[in-house]
Point group: C2
Chain length 113, copies 2
């Protein structure tokens, strides 16, 4: 049986993304970060809403529209709305950080049907 925490790499050249569920516009993925951060000066801007949780380790999440860095520890979860610009400032330098990210079509500001 697959396990979210099995065989975690100690160090990775880049973040590791494993798709767990993909159906239509829905995508659930496990992300493993080993001290990775979003490259300096880059903001992520996504077309879909994203629910994200940290299950192991920790991370600092910054939004372009607020000053503070949001610190996520084990179990903390947050919804990042489509097109809300954000970046990962840091992830845990002492252990792998395991995330679940659910990308989905949210309600949106202007439904068309």
């Amino acid at each position: 049986m697959p396990n979210l925490f099995a065989n975690l790499p100690r160090s990775l050249p880049a973040e590791q993304f494993d798709v767990l569920v993909a159906a239509g516009r829905l995508r659930l993925e496990r992300i493993v970060s080993t001290a990775h951060a979003t490259p300096c000066g880059r903001w992520d801007d996504q077309d879909t809403d994203e629910w994200v949780v940290v299950l192991r380790g920790s991370a600092g999440l910054r939004f372009a529209d607020t000053a503070d860095v949001m610190v996520l520890r084990e179990g903390d979860h947050v919804v990042i709305r489509a097109h809300r610009r954000h970046r990962v400032e840091w992830t845990d330098p002492t252990q792998p950080t395991v995330w679940l990210a659910l990308h989905y079509e949210g309600a949106g500001p202007s439904p068309t049907s």
Copy 2:
């Protein structure tokens, strides 16, 4: 910030369901079980696919089409296809069991796991 593991009840009269994300046919929920099981003789038969993971505690999952009970421990995850009849035989008697369950519209008939 909401946390999956904050303020876990030690004992519940019934399983607790908290919807984290709902959008169209998609529903992500946290389930907390305190030694609960599916009532004797009942099978669950769902219209949508379900991805489920145990994050704390443990559980025994039985499918109507197989003899063995599948034991889920922390991090174990499985997809339960729509209309695959199943039941929870037991959940951890010593601590709360925390699940995430993602209900979604799958691709349709698919291989048994």
